[in-house]
Symmetry: C2
Subunit: 256 residues, 2 copies
DNA sequence: GCCGGCGTTCGGCATCGCCGAACGCCGGAC
DNA sequence: GTCCGGCGTTCGGCGATGCCGAACGCCGGC
């Protein structure tokens, strides 16, 4: 296959990110959302402004100039996402011996697209199609770090406490996100269920837009190597599975 | 002003070129329309296919995937074009001592956006808003060379003869267009009016899309230095004016 | 059957995109 | 009122990416 033009992929992903938002987005939202330097995002955004696809409000934030239906219809539905990601999610579960999930942010909630569970006596049930709390899961941390819609979904809302370890203070929750962006994965322990540890990583489109997250989870004894630290080989497997799924996104020819 | 990203400008201009066509366009149309190598146009088009903005039919031609209203509304109307181009068109007339015109292809016809005429006893009248024949003018040659819509407008049509020098054979007309693309200007002599010579050059947007053409015209004695050859300094002035007008396109902030 | 034109691919080169650093502005905190 | 941190913007250096010439394979017309 011929090589794609990276700048155009990125510009399209910026449009997609902005199309997913009702409110104007900041330069920072776009840069962090696509994993780009501010200057890079700025250059691309200014070009999109110049060609009329995007405009900038008087506060310096960006919003899409016109409704581009193609950007909305282009969004993978959960079944497409599941079919793209199920092999690697299954493989991830097999290689780590833990349960695995693939989830995306849709219509104001994080929803499970695929779930592989292992024959372990932890409290498990098939969750495909279910919504999960973004503030109390590793998957949710990833989406909060990269998806401005996810971040907005918890604004002005009381964060529900599931365990004694659930972070319900928004400032404290947000304070951990730069580290997630930096290292490219997130880790939670006992926040949605006592004794449950999880590691998640972002799934991106060709332009860098985070369209989903994939994770493994299991009991703390299995997922952690030292207290409060995830096993390095599990982290590597999650990041690898996320990259593999990302590589498949946008590869199949889109149906007309 | 910050630098723009050339690839994104080009991609947007490709969309704009395709939005102006009802029929699918060929790779060649896009490449010649934007003045790019085939391989370059191919890479950008494949990326646009990948992000879903363009699709390719089974014959290998390209068409826009979805109606993007922004691309249509973005087209400069003739008044905007006139206000952008009038200073340089006036200056062109002054520097060459000839009449000058700025024209664009709109709704199936080439229309004059601005006209500066000199106090010469040739048959002149203000033509702003008038349609001109694309096959018999230097302006028209430019648009035929670069705008697939202009080329399509004369397909299946009898070309009107204005003088004994008017080219009415479409194959012969088209045969001269590669030279126009190569040298970046066109020249006609006595095709729309006896004894009238004209030199025209393309006005492009930042992505390379030809949105208009600018020309000087006058009697053959004044515009030609040798029989059937335009004066080199007039050619240079026209090309320069076209570049200057091009540089202004897309510079002013677009109104929301 | 042949040939020309088109879409596609490849690889080398240098231009352009990328991004770190710095700047200026602005709003919030004190 | 002042100070400071965060944001959008700009600049310039570097190397990665985009660009394009050349070549290829396919297909349709003669």
């Amino acid at each position: 296959m011929a090589k794609s033009v990276q700048s155009v992929l990125r510009a399209a992903s910026m449009l997609r990110l902005m199309a997913a938002e009702v409110e104007p987005v900041t330069l920072k939202d776009v840069a962090t959302g696509l994993g780009l330097a501010k200057a890079t995002a700025h250059g691309l955004l200014q070009t999109l402004v110049e060609v009329g696809f995007v405009r900038q409000d008087e506060a310096g934030r960006y919003l899409i100039s016109a409704d581009l239906p193609e950007l909305h219809s282009d969004q993978l539905d959960l079944n497409e996402l599941r079919s793209i990601g199920l092999n690697w999610t299954d493989a991830l579960a097999a290689r780590t011996g833990e349960s695995a999930r693939l989830a995306a942010f849709r219509d104001g909630a994080m929803v499970v697209a695929h779930h592989v569970f292992r024959s372990r006596p932890t409290r498990q049930r098939l969750q495909i199609g279910s919504a999960l709390p973004v503030h109390a899961t590793a998957l949710g941390r990833v989406l909060l770090a990269f998806d401005p819609g996810a971040a907005r979904s918890i604004q002005g809302r009381e964060l529900e406490r599931f365990t004694s370890r659930t972070i319900t203070d928004r400032t404290r929750l947000m304070a951990g996100l730069p580290a997630v962006r930096e290292q490219g994965w997130s880790f939670t322990l006992g926040e949605d269920e006592p004794g449950l540890a999880a590691i998640a990583a972002p799934v991106r489109d060709r332009g860098g837009y985070v369209i989903a997250a994939v994770e493994v989870h299991g009991s703390a004894d299995d997922v952690c190597e030292r207290r409060d630290q995830p096993r390095a080989e599990h982290v590597a497997e999650v990041v690898r599975a996320a990259r593999r799924i990302s590589a498949l996104v946008g590869r199949e020819g889109r149906s007309p």
